[in-house]
């Protein structure tokens, strides 16, 4: 088991290292010089040179890469070209919107998908199953940002239960914050739940055919109890895998959905940074997103150990 964790940990580090090089190189080939862009076309050459030195742009590539990575490891993401503010602080502020949104949506979609998928599997081929499958077929085809617009139209404009967008900040109180994130989270969660419910259903159907399920019934467990005690846990492995893969979609989805609700999250930050050519912000946000995805998949691998004791033994 320790070997398994160690091996996964090493590949986690390798993946992060390679990703950081790729991100650095792609941003590096960007045409144009951030310093002259910041100062405008009328800037004197020596002013540009001075700013380049201040930003560290005059150093060789390798040195800049190393100092970027070392900085990030210490929580220093550099200084924004446009705002002249620490990038780390800017990201941290926005993260307080994007991360709760992604987690809220993940929790919602899991809470919906697992019971719904299990219900469909238990009623396989009957009316309830057909309805669930039909609804999920539709759910996977709906773009979440469009669904978000429909929710705004319905619940914010027509019924006026929620505000159409914006974020009051967590200072305004936990309830207010959660309220503001509710429509975006629902918009993100429902299409994801459709995919997850389908996975849950087919995973549970696979498990239901196993011998140990018959044994569980034979020793006198009722069908629901057998599904709950023996079926669910075994069906969780494919579900966990998809959950890990889905997190990256959820994060990307959150960034897009923030635009629908005018939420001041990472999405707004990164799209503004692209228009303002604030490349250091783009670079850091992308690295953070990739880091999160890699990290979540690492945690999913560790979760296998918890769900499936067979993996704990060897290798």
């Amino acid at each position: 088991m320790i070997q398994f964790v160690m091996r996964r940990f090493l590949s986690l580090i390798a993946a992060l290292a390679v990703s950081s090089v790729v991100i650095f190189l792609v941003i590096e080939v960007a045409p144009g010089d951030p310093a002259s862009f910041m100062l405008g076309i009328n800037a004197q050459p020596d002013t540009v040179a001075a700013l380049r030195a201040e930003l560290g742009l005059d150093q060789p590539k390798l040195q800049r890469y190393v100092s970027w990575v070392l900085g990030m490891l210490q929580g220093d993401f550099g200084i924004s070209y446009t705002y002249r503010a620490p990038v780390g602080q800017m990201i941290a502020d926005r993260l307080w919107v994007s991360l709760p949104l992604a987690i809220y949506a993940l929790a919602l979609s899991t809470l919906i998908a697992i019971p719904v998928g299990a219900y469909a599997a238990a009623r396989r081929g009957r009316a309830g199953d057909m309805m669930v499958m039909g609804a999920t077929q539709l759910g996977v085809a709906v773009p979440n940002f469009w669904f978000a617009m429909l929710l705004v139209l319905m619940f914010a404009i027509k019924l006026q239960w929620f505000s159409a967008g914006g974020f009051p900040g967590w200072e305004a109180g936990l309830g207010q914050g959660i309220m503001a994130l509710s429509l975006p989270a629902i918009a993100l969660a429902l299409p994801q739940a459709a995919i997850l419910a389908r996975i849950m259903r087919s995973a549970l159907l696979d498990v239901l055919g196993e011998d140990y399920m018959r044994t569980a019934r034979a020793k006198g467990l009722s069908r629901p109890r057998a599904i709950w005690r023996h079926g669910m846990r075994n069906a969780m492995i494919p579900v966990l895998t998809i959950l890990g893969l889905q997190f990256s979609f959820l994060l990307a989805g959150a960034i897009i959905i923030e635009q629908v609700f005018y939420l001041p999250g990472l999405g707004r930050l990164v799209f503004q940074a692209i228009t303002q050519r604030d490349l250091i912000v783009v670079e850091s946000v992308v690295m953070l997103l990739v880091f999160t995805v890699i990290m979540v998949n690492f945690l999913v691998d560790l979760a296998y150990l918890w769900v499936d004791p067979r993996l704990r033994g060897d290798g």
Binding site: P143, W146, I255, V293
Partner: protein
């Protein structure tokens, strides 16, 4: 061989919807009900089912015509991205399966894991930051995202085939791994590749819509479904049809492809049907 009448209904429904969108996109090159480049303020924001079947936008452009032209971008981006994913992913997967013990086989699969950490949106953000926004970025971003999908799928399927007798006999005949992969493995995994291709095609349409919605894909004046939705956003309270029309186009196109994919899978791989039904 089954007769046409015994094919699953989903193939007909999905196929018909997909064909409809492909035809509309092709037709838009030579004819659209109205011009989509001109501005006619006098007829702006007309509701659907009047002179204009799907209504007009804030510039007075016919929405049906725009959806038709938009279909070009959405379908072309998604289709080329599937091509990139298959073109690079399948050879990589086949190579990794042919020599599972080689060091580069492991390297290929690690590389695939790595690409999974870059969602299409993140790739698009990176490329756009460096080279500016265009429909080409969307193609590259979604295409790169497709590579590991096809690499994993073809490797998994090919690994199972390499254990079979007919591959062994091909080996005994002295065929190289390359020839075996091309002549025996590839034709045998073509079915699942086609099914996955349909699924990635539909995911590509969704991804393209998302990218052009946030401005990382097709740029104006080129209409695309995602951009139409972005334009509609500020007007949704008084002209909801602006958001409904392109959104429904996306849902219908994706639904059609998914149904087609399901149907094809049922025909090509009856074992899966057994489990799903």
């Amino acid at each position: 061989m089954k007769g046409v009448l015994f094919l699953p209904r989903t193939i007909f429904i999905g196929g018909a919807i997909t064909a409809l969108f492909l035809l509309a996109a092709l037709l838009s090159f030579i004819w659209t009900p109205h011009d989509v480049t001109g501005v006619a303020i006098a007829q702006k924001l007309r509701p659907p089912f009047g002179d204009f079947i799907l209504g007009t936008d804030h510039f007075g452009r016919d929405l049906l015509s725009m959806v038709m032209v938009g279909a070009r971008v959405s379908l072309a981006v998604a289709l080329v991205a599937v091509g990139i994913g298959m073109g690079l992913g399948v050879p990589l997967g086949l190579a990794a399966a042919a020599r599972p013990n080689a060091w580069w086989s492991d390297a290929i699969m690690r590389l695939n894991d790595l690409i999974f950490a870059f969602p299409a949106l993140v790739i698009a953000i990176l490329i756009t930051a460096s080279f500016g926004a265009s429909a080409l970025n969307a193609i590259i971003a979604i295409g790169i995202f497709n590579i590991p999908v096809f690499a994993r799928l073809s490797r998994g399927a090919a690994l199972a085939l390499w254990q079979r007798e007919f591959i062994l006999s091909a080996r005994v005949c002295g065929k190289s791994d390359l020839r075996i992969s091309a002549e025996h493995i590839l034709p045998n995994i073509a079915n699942i590749l086609i099914v996955q291709g349909t699924i990635q095609f539909s995911l590509g349409i969704l991804a393209e819509a998302g990218l052009s919605y946030v401005g990382l894909g097709a740029q104006p004046p080129l209409p695309s479904w995602g951009r139409m939705l972005a334009d509609a956003q500020t007007m949704v309270s008084f002209a909801p049809h602006l958001a409904l029309v392109p959104g429904l186009a996306i849902v219908l196109a994706v639904l059609g492809l998914n149904l087609l994919g399901d149907g094809l899978r049922d025909v090509m791989d009856p074992r899966l049907k057994e489990r799903q039904a």
